[in-house]
């Protein structure tokens, strides 16, 4: 059984929409991806979902949000909102993961390593901008894998 997160996904998506144009216009590497192609995430097996979610939350919090230097207050506010929501998710997921286990298979570890490699190759600040612009992919992944289906 998967770990559910009670986070206001609408607010997360709204925050992303508010930063999307400002961030994506700064992205000068349009044909490169950090989160790899959606197919890579789609190919993750249910048993690996927990590990990939945990690793990607860590990736965004320890690297992306830290590496991105934002000057516009309204963009900064939205990124802060997302970052603190991710922190809350990490905390609530941790409790569930400790009860149910959250093993990392080789595939899950590889998928995460690809993300970090892509990030390293692109380098800061471009990689941070690119990853912020791809938040919608990760938010959709969280919604699909960690939200109770809304009635």
């Amino acid at each position: 059984r998967r770990c559910l997160i009670s986070v206001d996904m609408n607010q997360l998506e709204e925050s992303f929409q508010e930063i999307k144009r400002a961030i994506q216009t700064k992205d000068t590497f349009q044909n490169i991806t950090i989160l790899s192609t959606v197919e890579t995430l789609q190919s993750i097996k249910p048993v690996d979902v927990c590990c990939v979610t945990k690793n990607l939350l860590e990736f965004y919090m320890r690297r992306v949000f830290k590496d991105h230097q934002e000057l516009k207050p309204q963009i900064l506010r939205r990124i802060s909102s997302i970052a603190n929501s991710f922190l809350y998710m990490q905390k609530t997921l941790k409790q569930c993961q400790e009860q149910r286990g959250c093993q990392c298979s080789e595939e899950a570890t590889n998928a995460t390593r690809i993300v970090h490699d892509n990030y390293d190759q692109l380098g800061i600040p471009s990689a941070a901008i690119k990853s912020l612009g791809e938040l919608n992919i990760f938010i959709a992944w969280i919604e699909k894998n960690h939200q109770a289906t809304s009635v």
């Binding site: 925050s15 506010r77 603190n84 929501s85 991710f86």
Partner: protein
């Protein structure tokens, strides 16, 4: 330069009810002067990972009153640090920081106001509109021996919601509580309100 330092605001505190969060402080009083204030915040993420970054509050970059609505700043269920300083012309005071970080899961949740009415034989409720974070659990029953209580989740306030088609002969009673998923809490139940439909039962 002999200019007395502008005193920093004191007694910061947050009053939070129904997910509306108001930061207040004691005003800095200077004769014949209007003192302004600036508010900034840091979520737990910033204090853990980017502690030098403070974010200007959305509504209180330069505000006159000794209070600031920080509802739009506090957007996650983690502790937030808040700070305020006074501004007088080109002078700014030191920052005063809220003694205890504020977490919105401590907000006071009040029982929702409800309006119960009948539209012909239909039992209708309208709940207080408390904003997008709120859903409501509505309980309703026909007041007679061995009655069964029904429950319904209402996703938004401010709009009439049909609960049931009533039959004459006994009152129908309703109560409701507010639910906030984002903080995993709910309010107490509201008062119970009852209505009774008169006349003949509806033809089958």
């Amino acid at each position: 330069d002999g200019v007395a330092a502008l005193p920093a605001p004191q007694n910061l505190s947050v009053h939070s009810t129904n997910m509306k969060h108001l930061l207040t402080w004691s005003p800095v009083v200077l004769p014949k002067e209007t003192v302004y204030y600036s508010v900034e915040y840091q979520g737990e993420y910033e204090s853990l990972y980017t502690s030098d970054i403070w974010i200007p509050s959305k509504w209180c970059l330069c505000t006159e009153g000794p209070e600031c609505d920080v509802t739009d700043d506090i957007t996650a269920t983690v502790p937030y640090s808040l700070r305020v300083r006074a501004i007088l012309g080109s002078q700014t005071s030191a920052w005063s920081i809220l003694e205890q970080p504020f977490n919105r899961n401590s907000t006071i949740l009040t029982p929702p106001m409800i309006e119960v009415s009948q539209d012909g034989f239909h039992l209708v409720i309208e709940l207080e509109d408390l904003g997008p974070q709120f859903q409501f659990l509505v309980a309703y029953w026909r007041r007679e021996p061995d009655t069964k209580e029904h429950a319904k989740i209402v996703r938004r306030g401010g709009i009439p919601v049909h609960l049931e088609t009533m039959e004459p002969g006994a009152p129908y009673c309703v109560k409701a509580q507010a639910l906030v998923n984002a903080i995993g809490r709910n309010s107490a139940f509201s008062q119970t309100k009852c209505v009774e439909v008169q006349g003949e039962a509806l033809p089958l």
